[in-house]
């Protein structure tokens, strides 16, 4: 499939999903589906760096929360600003932080980058906790408009539509990367960075591109969060669940293609939602962690890889 038909197909699937939601018109369905689609975006974003180049980013919460908190700042400065613009700003902020961290640490062995991102999550949380303007440790309230702009209906429908749109863009980007020179460069870095460097692949530049794209998408995924939760505090914005899910879902689905994060997010996200409703919310967070460990040990190629091997 070419790139244009692929994007068209994605848009069709997204439109169908949204249409089905409108027809059902259950708010809960939108709230639950928003989380799953958000995780598809986060998983895809993580996979652009982690799956394609092999550099593990643990600082998902940092990028995600940077997006969320730039929305809080914009909300305080200009409450009437349309949410899509806030998402772009959140993406830019997170992308720039990714660029800075990557520039300082990506020249070393991959592990140092991973450790730096782990520490980045802690330091961004410290900064936000100490920043009174965005609510500090007390948290910030964001008023969600009752009615969605443009499309009418409940505001959550608008949030879901935006996240769906972002998801289409993220998946199209990921797939385009896979089939481009950029993607082959990434794969070369993943397989043997020394050999790639020696054959003239500009490894640092490619790694920086991947980091910025990955961080930017995470920031954009986080930007609507304040409107979704309406009350955002550092403890929930920086919850480790986001990081674990965003890493677990691509690894469970399979890191080698754009389909992996989708499969992982739909399966794990759906399972978690099911457990949250039927058993308890404490048990649901454990699921991703346990599945992550089981899959990296027993099926490192993920679900997509299992099917591919059988074929």
């Amino acid at each position: 499939m070419g790139s244009v038909p692929f994007v068209l197909a994605l848009v069709c699937v997204a439109a169908l999903l949204f249409g089905a939601g409108r027809w059902l018109n259950i708010s809960y369905a939108f709230f639950a589906a928003y989380v799953v689609v958000q995780y598809i975006v986060l998983g895809t974003a993580w996979n652009i760096l982690g799956g394609y180049t092999g550099y593990v980013n643990f600082g998902i919460t940092a990028f995600f929360a940077l997006g969320a908190y730039s929305t809080v700042v914009l909300y305080k400065l200009a409450p009437s600003l349309p949410l899509p613009i806030m998402m772009v700003v959140g993406g830019i902020v997170a992308g720039l932080v990714g660029l800075g961290t990557g520039y300082l640490t990506l020249r070393l062995r991959g592990i140092f980058f991973s450790i730096a991102t782990l520490a980045l999550a802690v330091v961004v949380q410290t900064l936000i906790t100490n920043w009174d303007y965005v609510g500090g440790a007390r948290g910030a309230y964001v008023l969600r408009p009752r009615v969605a702009p443009l499309i009418g209906g409940d505001y959550i429908q608008y949030l879901f539509l935006l996240m769906l749109g972002l998801c289409v863009i993220a998946l199209a980007t990921a797939r385009a990367i896979e089939h481009s020179a950029l993607g082959y460069g990434f794969a070369a870095i993943r397989d043997d960075e020394g050999a790639a460097e020696a054959s003239g692949v500009p490894t640092l530049r490619l790694k920086l591109i991947a980091t910025v794209l990955s961080g930017g998408f995470m920031g954009m995924a986080g930007a609507p969060l304040p409107y979704y939760v309406t009350y955002l505090d550092p403890a929930s914005g920086f919850s480790l669940n986001y990081a674990v899910n965003a890493i677990a879902m691509p690894l469970i689905g399979g890191t080698s293609s754009w389909l992996g994060p989708v499969v992982g997010a739909v399966l794990v996200g759906g399972l978690q939602e099911y457990i949250r409703v039927t058993i308890s919310s404490a048990a649901n967070v454990l699921v991703a962690g346990v599945l992550l460990v089981v899959f990296v040990i027993l099926a490192p190629e993920g679900i997509v890889g299992l099917f591919r091997r059988r074929r």
């Binding site: 982690g50 092999g54 593990v56 643990f58 961290t101 300082l104 640490t105 070393l108 991959g110 592990i111 140092f112 991973s114 450790i115 730096a116 782990l118 520490a119 980045l120 999550a121 802690v122 330091v123 949380q125 410290t126 900064l127 906790t129 100490n130 440790a137 480790l240 674990v244 890493i247 677990a248 690894l251 890191t255 404490a282 048990a283 967070v285 454990l286 991703a288 962690g289 346990v290 992550l292 460990v293 990296v296 040990i297 027993l298 490192p300």
Partner: protein, 291 residues
């Protein structure tokens, strides 16, 4: 005595004591990451496991937390050996240490944290012991026993391990693994077995570190994450695989953090380690005493 000088001296002293404690927290990673090249980012989670073992023994059995940790040492060692065996079979043998191995330890960190939340809840827990509370006074200098005891325990552990590694046969074998695994294989020795022992030891240090952590401060399951940045900052700054470098780095970080929290407020202290880590990685990735 000038009040601010007084404050400064006490901040430096508590920083030194705190740094000594950081050495105990970091030594497990100095062994696993620095010598064995196993990036065990779950170590802070295991340290918290140690804290809760000490908490349990202290509140239920009325046992001294450090004694409880010493009793728990063999169990932690065995757990570490099991974790290494899984890691070896699943990742090291497949040459998949970076993506798979890192995610494995990240998953373990998360599972440990959530399991502790499910068992003990998210409230802060603390232990009772005679040395928690009183302080020694030398003029205007105050030495809280709550910090002094962990400092001494930590130093005993670090020095003991250093002697073990440099004097005993097994310790030298571990040093040899750290230097050149291939050469060891060519001498018909089995690096995997030695690494399993070493990883078990590194895991066992978490029992002691956890017990003295809960002596120093009340503990809840998520504070392990704060220690990840700190521990790796110390190991990188100290130069991987060098114990003396690690101790110097730990004490340095302790003093800087203590000064930061005295003069800018304790909520800024976690940012210090990240700054140190980034500057080290950017300027001198081999650390102050790196090989």
């Amino acid at each position: 005595m000038d009040a601010s000088l007084d404050l400064l001296t006490n901040a430096v002293i508590s920083g030194l004591l705190l740094g000594g404690f950081y050495a105990a927290v970091s030594i497990g990673v100095a062994i696993s990451f620095g010598m064995l090249d196993i990036v065990n980012i779950a170590h802070p989670g295991f340290i918290l496991l140690g804290s809760y073992v000490a908490y349990f023994a202290n509140t239920v059995l009325g046992m001294d937390p450090i004694l409880a940790a010493v009793i728990a040492l063999p169990a932690f060692y065995a757990l570490g050996a099991v974790v290494y065996q899984i890691y070896y079979v699943a990742f090291e043998r497949r040459q998949d240490q970076s993506l798979g191995g890192l995610s494995f330890f990240f998953g373990l960190l998360f599972i440990t944290e959530v399991a502790l939340v499910l068992i003990f809840g998210v409230d802060y827990r603390l232990v009772q012991a005679r040395y928690i509370g009183p302080s020694l006074h030398f003029g205007w200098i105050e030495l809280p026993l709550r910090l002094l005891v962990p400092f001494l325990v930590s130093m005993i552990m670090v020095v003991g391990l250093q002697i073990f590694l440099s004097r005993s046969f097994l310790g030298r074998a571990i040093e040899a693994v750290a230097q050149d695994q291939l050469a060891l294989r060519l001498m018909a020795a089995n690096p995997t077995r030695i690494k399993r022992v070493a990883f078990g030891i590194s895991f066992a240090t978490a029992a002691i570190a956890g017990a003295i952590l809960i002596i120093i401060q009340p503990v809840e399951p998520s504070i392990g994450r704060e220690y990840i940045g700190r521990v790796f900052a110390i190991c990188v700054l100290g130069g991987l695989g060098s114990f003396s470098g690690m101790v110097i780095a730990a004490v340095t970080l302790g003093v800087v953090e203590s000064l930061t929290s005295t003069f800018f407020g304790p909520s800024w202290a976690p940012a210090v380690s990240f700054g140190v880590l980034l500057v080290t990685l950017a300027v001198r990735p081999s650390g102050i005493l790196g090989r």
